[in-house]
Amino acid sequence: MKIACVCAMGLGSSLILRMTVETALKQLHMKDVEVEVVDTSTARGSQADIIVSSHSFCEQLSDMGVAMIEVVNYTDANYIKEQLQKILSAQ
């Protein structure tokens, strides 16, 4: 599985998201998940299974047809954990 953390430049915010997602994955005991940091333009070609980003970027990428997690607080691992569980149980 591949999770893409997206922000405008793919430098700061998305890297923070990656660390939060990795914390959540650890709590869920999920291994073999690739978490990558990308900017909005690259995100389209990333072939990710799940996109984690802010509302505006999720909206912009909504036509990709992949599962999305919209965050408000970039460091809230519990929220991402809950959302991941929801997505995984729906699959």
Binding site: M9, L15, R18, M19, D39, S41, V72, T75
Partner: protein, 425 residues
């Protein structure tokens, strides 16, 4: 034995190797498995080389643009982009930059541990940029490399805990809590925007920007690298028209002037994209390692994050800020022309990041009017400071680009003024 020493000293004097070594230490400290240590270290090495190449693309593109601007308007125009100037500075000052960034991170942890400023500065790209600024400015004073690294480290380490503390009262209003701090070195302009919102704005609750509705096409403004290309294209094409086709032909050859300008504009974006890829590779291992170690050393640490992390708290304010900051930059532009200062070319990239953040701060203290005036004043202030720093910076042989954010300009000017006081500059 001599050969060994030769290989070793050659390796250590390479900035790319130094940065890779830092990742290596970080990965080992986190007890990463062997293959992660190897790939992570080599990727950081590759990232530094990629970053430098991006700098070369930008310089190659800026040189003709500078000549054309000079011919057209007899002015020196400067496009301030941190990524560009740092990548260019890395060619000459890479080693000092890397060491300052590394020791700056360590000093950040120590200060967070022993003082009441519990901030861990996680915008690693800004740490690298501040390493670039301090190594250039301090070296220009004629200081020994060791002294440059020591003073640079102190500046980076202290700023890493002080600037989040300064903006924290406003950050509490923005995020409604204490969980995250601002880790972005345009802090002065955000604080100014916060005060401007308080003085000039309305009630933050009832007049919040988040009660406004915006049309959807405006989401175009969320593609900063494209915005940058379009902005540089416009500057190039206007300069080309005023310089005249025969002059431009020196650079463009047979290619149509407008088409050439369009390609130039996006070549700038291409350079920045390459630099971003490089910086991303450098940060991928460094920042998580830093965070992991810092959390052990400073258990009650508050992470200081890059500016767009506050965008989610007031996305509409970001749009207001984009426009207001651009107007601010245009006002500054006319001030430069009037006073004969270095012309800082208005940059839409900064309208997005700094304008957006300034407006989020202004909105938190003064609603939509606070967002507008906060970003407007931030735009004027930032570009005037850039314009004040550039002459100092330009005299060191840098042209066409400079550091973009307020705190960099202020620190640069401070280093220069203090150096002058001691008769160094």
């Amino acid at each position: 034995m001599d050969l060994m020493m030769n290989i070793l000293t050659s390796l250590i004097s390479q900035a790319a190797v130094l940065v890779a070594l830092m990742s290596f230490i970080g990965l080992i400290a986190q007890k990463a498995p062997f293959e992660r240590v190897m790939t992570g270290t080599l990727k950081t090495f590759l990232g530094f080389l990629v970053m430098s190449q991006g700098g070369t693309i930008i310089t190659g593109m800026l040189n003709p643009l500078n000549e054309i601007m000079m011919e057209a308007f007899h002015i020196q125009g400067v496009i301030p982009v941190n990524e560009a100037i740092s990548a260019i500075a890395a060619e000459q000052f890479g080693t000092q930059m890397a060491l300052i960034a590394f020791f700056g991170l360590i000093l950040n942890m120590i200060l967070a541990r022993i003082t009441r400023f519990k901030y861990i500065f996680l915008s690693g790209h800004h740490t690298i940029f501040m390493g670039a600024l301090t190594s250039v400015m301090l070296s220009a004073l004629g200081l020994e490399p060791v002294v440059v690294v020591v003073i640079g480290t102190i500046i980076v380490g202290v700023l890493s805990v002080i600037t989040p503390a300064i903006s924290m009262p406003f950050m509490r209003k923005v995020t409604g809590g204490d969980t995250i701090a601002m880790g972005h070195w345009a802090t002065t302009s955000y604080v100014v925007a916060g005060f401007a919102g308080k003085l000039l704005g309305g009630d933050p609750e009832t007049t919040s920007t988040e009660k406004l509705e915006f049309p959807k096409w405006m989401s175009f403004f969320r593609e900063p690298v494209l915005l940058m290309g379009i902005g540089v294209f416009l500057v190039t094409v206007i300069s080309c028209i005023f310089a005249g086709a025969p002059f431009v032909a020196k650079y463009a050859g047979d290619t149509n002037m407008v088409v050439w300008a369009f390609i130039q504009g996006f070549t700038f974006s291409a350079g920045v994209t390459v630099i971003l890829t490089g910086v991303r590779m450098i940060l991928a291992e460094l920042v998580p390692a830093f965070k992991g170690i810092a959390e052990k050393i400073v258990p009650d640490a508050i992470p200081a994050l890059d500016c767009p992390t506050v965008f989610t708290f007031a996305p509409n304010a970001v749009l207001v800020g984009f426009f207001a900051y651009t107007i601010g930059q245009l006002i500054a532009f006319f001030i430069f022309l009037q006073l004969g200062m270095t012309v800082i070319v208005p940059t839409l990239l900064h309208s997005f990041f700094m304008g957006g953040t300034a407006a989020v701060f202004g909105n938190a203290t003064g609603g939509k009017r606070g967002a507008f005036f906060g970003a407007l004043i931030a735009g004027i202030l930032n570009n005037i400071l850039c314009s004040m720093l550039f002459p100092v910076f330009g005299s060191l042989g840098f042209s066409g680009t400079t550091f973009a954010d307020t705190d960099f300009s202020i620190i640069g000017l401070l280093i220069y003024s203090i150096g002058k006081m001691f008769g160094l500059a």
